[in-house]
Each structure stands twice: as structure tokens, then as C-alpha cells.
């Protein structure tokens, strides 16, 4: 949807047309009640711009609003604090109309000044790691109190989707600047303790590592199915419960209304419980292996994985279905590209490399490795899924003569070695933050960002296609560029494994809760029914 909007170049959407996607039960909705939700980890720093982690990103939209909102399928956008947007015919500017009468949770009006200030802070290259989303914005101008004009440095097919990303959430300038602290970062830290936004909920209290209490924002602009303002709930309480078994027990005992990150091994059992709704929300999550493809390793040794034939052989020898059965208990599906099938402009059906051990052996022989070779894989210590994948790959690759050593390390060690290129292989997963394929593509394949996931993989054709696609407003042409990039990436540095949904267990009375494919937990349309 996003790109269609932009290729048309001029398109105005009026308020409300996009709201059909909001999970709205047809019958009467029960208002009131506080939903308790078990999370596997606490938030860290709920600042839209300076955060780095999904534990913040995925709940931020309950506190803050964006000009545009992601749709429920995570593939497009719908009106948010802006009711309409127009992309100029030359693609060099975007005009946004602000919604009338919107307020922050403290009752103060949301002004064009707040919008400009928030976007300027979000796009400042000195602020955090998300400003790449706003890279194309050259200036944010207030045309009149209800109209914002973004002047772009170049046409940007993803800027509309970008405006629905958490880093562009609108914050109250005056309240933020009134915070104690000498620098903007210090002010951000103080503000994050008592955030004021315009999302459906307000942070009421936060006891770190224990619980976070959100209460309904009486000034929220969106209307529910009953014609009264959302949210239906009086509040949401997040309880931090890192232990999977405890989190599940608490839902089973009735102390929680829902819990996230249910281990796949428990999904079947919980599906059988009539009091529970074991939900599997479609996601953009992909789980993959990632090779270092530089000709020499840091140790100075030759690296067989620099040979594309060797990489293809290892991919052919990996039985994706078996891994899906072992690790996800059948819940996952094989990856058909480096990006998830829920990502816009994804191409491909079925596994990227169908299992074929004979072909693998032939390829290894061609590459001169018929006697096999040995390398190691970094695995997150104690992570049952990663250990399961690595052990399965170890056996599958042993069958074609390749020996895999499993090296269990903690996250900081893994990231450190990964970033220094001090690895042969590692396992990882990824979820998109934006309803566009550009984010994953830049990290996975475009050299200047992080050298194709620190793999050292480089394709000049891929790089120039990516650069062109970042300015291509013609949907068909851009889709073509992405199709070609996905084709080239078959020779890339990864072992595509599987896509998997977000496993969430809810009491059957919980209606209208949604985790969209980008990961955001949406409580605005949630209600607690009898």
C-alpha cells in the first residue's frame, strides 16, 4: 500500500478511511477493567528517539502517537495525528494535515511546533540509531498551524512508512524542555520517567524490573466501535516475568490476562486449554544463520565460507523442515527470501534452498572441499532455540563432511565479536521496524551500513540497486529492483532458516488485542469481555 501511494505521487487520504483496520468487534464492547500482561523483560528507556531495544519499541505506541499509524497487517499506513498526506509530483516534498483538536495526555494541545520539534529531534544524526529513517528529510516547516511540510533532499519511497515508525512519535516540546538536565540526553532520561504523549495510555507508575502501570489517556483522539473515545480498557499493567514457566502459570492461574513470548514447545498444550486463547500473530521475524565471507578470518586462516559454492552447499544440506519441526514445534515456515513474507516487496515461494544433500556434496567437491572442513558458530548461551538450531545443523552438515563447532557465548560477547568480524558463523533473528523492505535490506546486504551484517559480503550490483530503490517512486520499478536484489542475495552470506509468528497466550475473554507484524503491542482496541 505504501508504495502505491507514493507512485501515484499525489494522493490525499481523508481522516477515518484507514480506521477500518482497527480491531473493532461488531457487537457491544465492554468498557473498563485493567488488563494485566506478562512480559519476558522490562522496558529500558522508553524514549522514541534514543531507545535501542524491542522491549521499548513494542510498547511505545501505547504512550506516544505518530502522524501516521501502521496498519494492522504491518504493510501500510493509516491516518494518525495527521489526517491526510500529499506527496508532491516531483517527490521532493510531503505535506501533512494535522488532526483538529488533539491533545497530549496532560490536556495541552498538540501544536505544529510540537510536530516540527519532534521530527527535528528524530532526524538529528546525533540522536540515536534510528535517524536513518528520516535521512531524506531536509527541512520540516510549519506552513500554517494545521499544515506541516517536509522538504526532501531526494525522492523517498519509504518516507510515508517512515512517519509511522516509533522514532517519529510526537512529543510535547515545552514539557520536554522543562525537564531538569543540562543536555537533551539528560532531559530525555528525566522525561522518560514520566512521559507525556498522546497515545491511548499514560504511564502512571513504573517499578523497574517489576511492573509498569499504564492508565487510559482521557484525551485520546480515536473513537471506538461504540462511538466513544478509545481505549476501552481503564489501564494495562505489565508484569515482568522472565521465567517462561512462571509467566504461563500466571495466566493459567488467572492472575494475568495474557503473556508474551510463549515457548513454541508449549503452544500445542496451551491450544488445548479451553480457558485460553493461544494466539500466533503473523510477524516479520526471520531466523537465520549468518556467515563471515571474508577470504581470511581474523586469525589469518583461509576462510572456506568465502566461496559461494560452499555456502550454497551448506544451505542445500540444511533441512529447514526438520529444524522447523525441532525448534518451533512445527509453528514456523521456511524463509523464502532474506526478508519475511510479511515484508512489502518480498518475492519467492518455498525455501530459498530446497534440501538436497547430494547437490551439497557435489558442490563441495566442485569447490575442492570434498574432504570437508571445520568452522565454528557463535550461539547465545542458554538460548534453547539457538542451541537446537546449531545442534541440528551440526548433524546435517556432518553428513556432507563438514564439522561445525558450537561456541556458546553471552550476548555482549557475541555482538562484540560479530561487529569486529571475529566469527565464522552466528545465528540471529530480525524483525522489521518499518513497513518497507529498505531497513532489513540495508542491514543485510547494503555494504555501507554494516557490511551486510558484518559478513564482509559485497555485491556492487546489489549496492547500486539499493541506492536506486531508495529514490524510486515507481512501484513497479522498485518492486523489480527488490526482486533482483532478492535473487542476488541467494549468493549472500546467510543460511535462511524460518519465519515464525509472535506466540501470545490470552484469556478467552480478552478481545481485540493485537501484536502487528512489526512487533508493536496494540492495546487501544482491547477489551475484557466476560
Amino acid at each position: 500500500m505504501t508504495t502505491a501511494i507514493k507512485s501515484a505521487a499525489i494522493l490525499t487520504l481523508l481522516a477515518g478511511t484507514g480506521l477500518a483496520g482497527l480491531a473493532a468487534p461488531a457487537q457491544a464492547v465492554t468498557r473498563g477493567g485493567t488488563m494485566t500482561y506478562g512480559r519476558y523483560a522490562d522496558s529500558l528507556f522508553p524514549d522514541p528517539v534514543l531507545n535501542d531495544a524491542n522491549v521499548d519499541i513494542w510498547i511505545l505506541s501505547n504512550i506516544y502517537d505518530t502522524l501516521l499509524l501502521p496498519t494492522d497487517d504491518g504493510k501500510g499506513v493509516q491516518p494518525g495525528l495527521a489526517t491526510a498526506w500529499t506527496v508532491a509530483p516531483d517527490g521532493k516534498s510531503v505535506t501533512l494535515t494535522l488532526r483538529e483538536g488533539t491533545m497530549f495526555s496532560d490536556g495541552s494541545p498538540i501544536t505544529a511546533e510540537d510536530v516540527k520539534w519532534s521530527l527535528d529531534r528524530a532526524r538529528d544524526p546525533k540522536n540515536g540509531i534510528w535517524n536513518f529513517i528520516d535521512e531524506s528529510i531536509g527541512a520540516v516547516d510549519i506552513k500554517d498551524p494545521k499544515t506541516i511540510v517536509l522538504t526532501l533532499k531526494h525522492p523517498d519511497p519509504a518516507i510515508i512508512a517512515g512517519l509511522s515508525v516509533f522514532n517519529n512519535q510526537i512529543m510535547p516540546k515545552t514539557q520536554f524542555e522543562a525537564m531538569p538536565g543540562a543536555t537533551m540526553v539528560e532531559k530525555a532520561k528525566a522525561f522518560a520517567e514520566h512521559p507525556v504523549g498522546s497515545g491511548p495510555f499514560v504511564l502512571q507508575s513504573w517499578s523497574r524490573g517489576q511492573e509498569m502501570k499504564l492508565v487510559r489517556n482521557p484525551h485520546y483522539w480515536r473513537q471506538g466501535a461504540d462511538g466513544k473515545p478509545l481505549p476501552y480498557l481503564d489501564g494495562v499493567t505489565f508484569e515482568v516475568l522472565p521465567d517462561d514457566a512462571t509467566r504461563i502459570l500466571k495466566v493459567q492461574s488467572g492472575e494475568l490476562d495474557g503473556a508474551e513470548f510463549i515457548p513454541f514447545s508449549r503452544v500445542e498444550e496451551l491450544k488445548g486449554d479451553p480457558k485460553l486463547n493461544m494466539a500466533l500473530f503473523p510477524s516479520t521475524k526471520v531466523t537465520y544463520g549468518n556467515f563471515n565471507v571474508r577470504p581470511k578470518l581474523n586469525s589469518g586462516a583461509d576462510n572456506p565460507l568465502s566461496n559461494a559454492k560452499v555456502r550454497e552447499a551448506l544451505n542445500d544440506a540444511a533441512d529447514k523442515d526438520a529444524i522447523i519441526a525441532i525448534v518451533t514445534h512445527g509453528v514456523g515456515t521456511p524463509m523464502s527470501s532474506y526478508m519475511s513474507s510479511a515484508t512489502p516487496l518480498h518475492t519467492g515461494t518455498g525455501p530459498v534452498f530446497p534440501t538436497d544433500p547430494d547437490k551439497a556434496k557435489a558442490l563441495l567437491k566442485e569447490a575442492g572441499f570434498d574432504k570437508g572442513f571445520k568452522f565454528s558458530c557463535l550461539v547465545l548461551a542458554g538460548n534453547v532455540d539457538e542451541i537446537g538450531i546449531a545442534t541440528a545443523l551440526q548433524q546435517m552438515w556432518a553428513a556432507v563432511g563438514v564439522t561445525l563447532d558450537i561456541e556458546q557465548v553471552d550476548n555482549a560477547t557475541r555482538t562484540d565479536r560479530f561487529r569486529k568480524g571475529d566469527f565464522s558463523m552466528r545465528l540471529g533473528d530480525w524483525t522489521d521496524d518499518i513497513a518497507d523492505p529498505n531497513e532489513i535490506t540495508s542491514y543485510f546486504g547494503y555494504t555501507p551500513v554494516i557490511e551486510a551484517q558484518h559478513s564482509g559480503w559485497k555485491s556492487d550490483e546489489f549496492n547500486s540497486l539499493y541506492e536506486a530503490s531508495q529514490q524510486e517512486l515507481d512501484t513497479t520499478k522498485r518492486a523489480g529492483q527488490y526482486a533482483r536484489m532478492q535473487e542476488i542475495y541467494r549468493n549472500g552470506p546467510t543460511v535462511p532458516l524460518y519465519e515464525s509468528p509472535y506466540p501470545v497466550v490470552l484469556k478467552t475473554g480478552v478481545k481485540g488485542f493485537l501484536q502487528i507484524p512489526l512487533g508493536n503491542n496494540i492495546f487501544s482496541g482491547t477489551s475484557l469481555e466476560k
Binding site: L44, F45, D52, A53, K126, I129, V185, K189, A192, E193, S207, R208, G209, Q210, E239, V240, L241, P242, D243, A245, T246, R247, L249, K250, Q252, S253, E255, V409, D410, N411, A412, T413, R414, T415, D416, R417, F418, R419, G428, Y443, V449, I450, Q453, H454
Partner: protein, 312 residues
């Protein structure tokens, strides 16, 4: 009874201990592979962003300079700020230490309440069926992993019978004690097993001592002989054991805190180590060292009260 001079001397002895902990944790956290940035920033950041953040956190300065700054701050009572949570370390300690202390305190209370009477019964009925049953039961308690006891208790008493909440910490003191009962029982059972065994053999030793025979010969009532002479003397070695055990308990609370979702320092420590949150690891180590030193001091004072010869 030990005098104020003794207490003061003991408090002064803590200074070198705490200095040692400060230096060792400062060095050890920096020997871990990776740094706070690799934990905070994840896979996606670019090298330039890492360098920028490293400078912002002062991690680009030479280690000795960082150490100097840290010591200067600690002396003034400032433990710094968490790199991950972005709040002062003291705030985190203030939020997370009370649950752990309450849990440890309750576990110790439960352990003592279980161990003392049962050790008596066991010792007085040595070799008989009741002795064997008590020792057998504690042996099982001791050999079961803490997380397993915890999960069994949770499944039976919380999920099935609904007598207790499934983990959490609660609001208000009464509610907190209620929430912490099962986890304290989990920890208390294994601690009780250790104490019970020690106390039982101490009682058996004391029962054979001449002064007990003498007390009995004087015609003292058996109850008075047991409480005034046997228990008091037998407790000396058990109290000595209590100090180090409570220290271990503080460390061992990590698993219990995870299973029962208690927002204590155990979990904070683990998260901070994974996150390479240097200021929190350092500040928490110092605080815990201080707490353990104080517990040692308390048990020593208690021991001295029971046996004045030990106060030196």
C-alpha cells in the same frame, strides 16, 4: 557482651574488604569480552554510532582515568548511573535490594523455625524412626535443585490450590510477605537442611558433655537443662554457620527470584552482567559485600553473646 570498641574495630575491618571488592569488580567487568555498547546497541549500530556513544558514557577514556573518577565518586557516596536503565545506581539498589533482603530474612526465619525443633527431636531420638524420617526428608530437600522445588510448590500451591499467588512481589508489607512465602519456603528448606544437620550433631555432642551431666545431677528440670545448657551451647556453631550461609543465600536468591518473578538484586545482577552495565555491577557488588559483611558482624555478635570467649 562485646563492647563498642569491638564493633568499631570490626566496622573498620570492612574498609579493606570493600576496597578489595571495588578494585576486583572494576577490573573483572572490564576483562569480560564486549563492553556496555555491544550489549546496549545490539547488532544494528554503525561503528560511528558506537564511538559516539562510547564517548558519551566516558568509556573512551583510559581505564586508569575511569577508575580514578569512579573512586572519587564512590567516596562521595555516588555509585554512578546505570548505562542501560539510565537511572542512578542507588535508585536501582533502593528498588531491588528490599525484596531480596525480605526474601533472605524470611527464608532464614523459616529455616531456623524448621531446623531448631526438628534438630532437637532428631538428636534426642537418635537412631529411632522419627530421627530417620526427619533426616531423610531433609536429605531429599537438600538434593533437589532449588528451581525444581520452586516450580513444584508453584504448581501445587499456586496454580492448583490457589493458596498463594504465582510469584510477584505485591504491594504493602502484608501482601509482600504473602507473595514471598513460597519462595522463602523454597530457599528456607534447603538452608534448614544444612542447619538441621549441624545443629543435630552439636546437640548430640553437648548432650554427652560433662556439664550437662552435672546440670542433670543437680536436679534441674530436663526442660531447663535443654534450653539453658544444651541449646545455648549447641547453637554456637550453628550461628557461626548462619553467617556464611546467609551470604550464599543472597547469591542463591538469583534462581528463586527468576522462578518466582521477584524483582530483587539477583536478577538485577544477572541482567547487568549480560548488559555489561559496569556501574550497576560495581555498585551492586559493593552493596552486597557491605550487606554480607554486616551479616557476618551480626552473627559474630550473636555468637559472642552466646559464648563470650569468641569476642576477641
Amino acid at each position: 557482651m562485646p563492647d563498642a570498641g569491638y564493633v568499631l574495630r570490626r566496622l573498620l575491618q570492612m574498609v579493606p574488604t570493600l576496597t578489595f571488592i571495588l578494585v576486583v569488580t572494576f577490573v573483572l567487568v572490564r576483562l569480560l569480552p564486549g563492553d556496555p555498547l555491544s550489549a546496549i546497541a545490539g547488532d544494528r549500530v554503525t561503528d560511528a554510532q558506537v564511538a559516539q556513544a562510547r564517548a558519551a558514557y566516558g568509556l573512551d577514556q583510559p581505564v586508569l582515568v575511569q577508575f580514578g573518577l569512579y573512586v572519587k565518586r564512590v567516596i562521595t557516596g555516588d555509585l554512578g548511573r546505570s548505562l542501560i536503565a539510565q537511572v542512578p545506581v542507588w535508585t536501582l539498589v533502593g528498588q531491588r535490594l528490599p525484596p531480596t533482603l525480605l526474601l533472605t530474612g524470611m527464608a532464614t526465619g523459616i529455616a531456623v523455625a524448621l531446623a531448631v525443633p526438628l534438630a532437637f527431636i532428631s538428636a534426642l531420638r537418635r537412631g529411632r524412626a522419627s530421627d530417620l524420617v526427619i533426616r531423610g526428608a531433609f536429605q531429599i530437600g537438600l538434593s533437589m535443585p532449588v528451581f525444581y522445588i520452586g516450580l513444584v510448590l508453584l504448581t501445587v500451591f499456586s496454580a492448583q490450590l490457589r493458596w498463594f499467588p504465582v510469584g510477584g512481589y505485591g504491594d504493602g508489607w502484608g501482601d509482600r510477605v504473602y507473595h514471598l512465602f513460597l519462595p522463602a519456603l523454597t530457599l528456607g528448606v534447603s538452608l534448614a537442611a544444612v542447619l538441621m544437620r549441624n545443629l543435630r550433631s552439636a546437640i548430640i555432642d553437648v548432650l554427652g558433655a560433662e556439664y550437662v551431666d552435672f546440670a542433670r545431677a543437680k536436679g534441674l528440670a530436663p526442660r531447663i537443662v535443654l534450653t539453658r545448657h544444651v541449646l545455648r551451647n549447641a547453637l554456637i556453631s550453628t550461628v557461626a554457620l548462619l553467617g556464611p550461609t546467609v551470604g550464599t543465600l543472597l547469591g542463591g536468591a538469583v534462581i528463586t527470584e527468576a522462578v518466582f518473578a521477584i524483582p530483587g538484586v539477583g536478577r538485577l545482577m544477572i541482567d547487568s552482567i549480560y548488559g555489561r552495565d559496569y556501574p550497576v555491577i560495581q555498585g551492586l557488588s559493593l552493596t552486597l559485600a557491605l550487606v554480607v559483611s554486616l551479616v557476618f558482624l551480626l552473627t559474630d555478635l550473636l555468637q559472642a553473646a552466646l559464648d563470650p570467649r569468641t569476642a576477641g
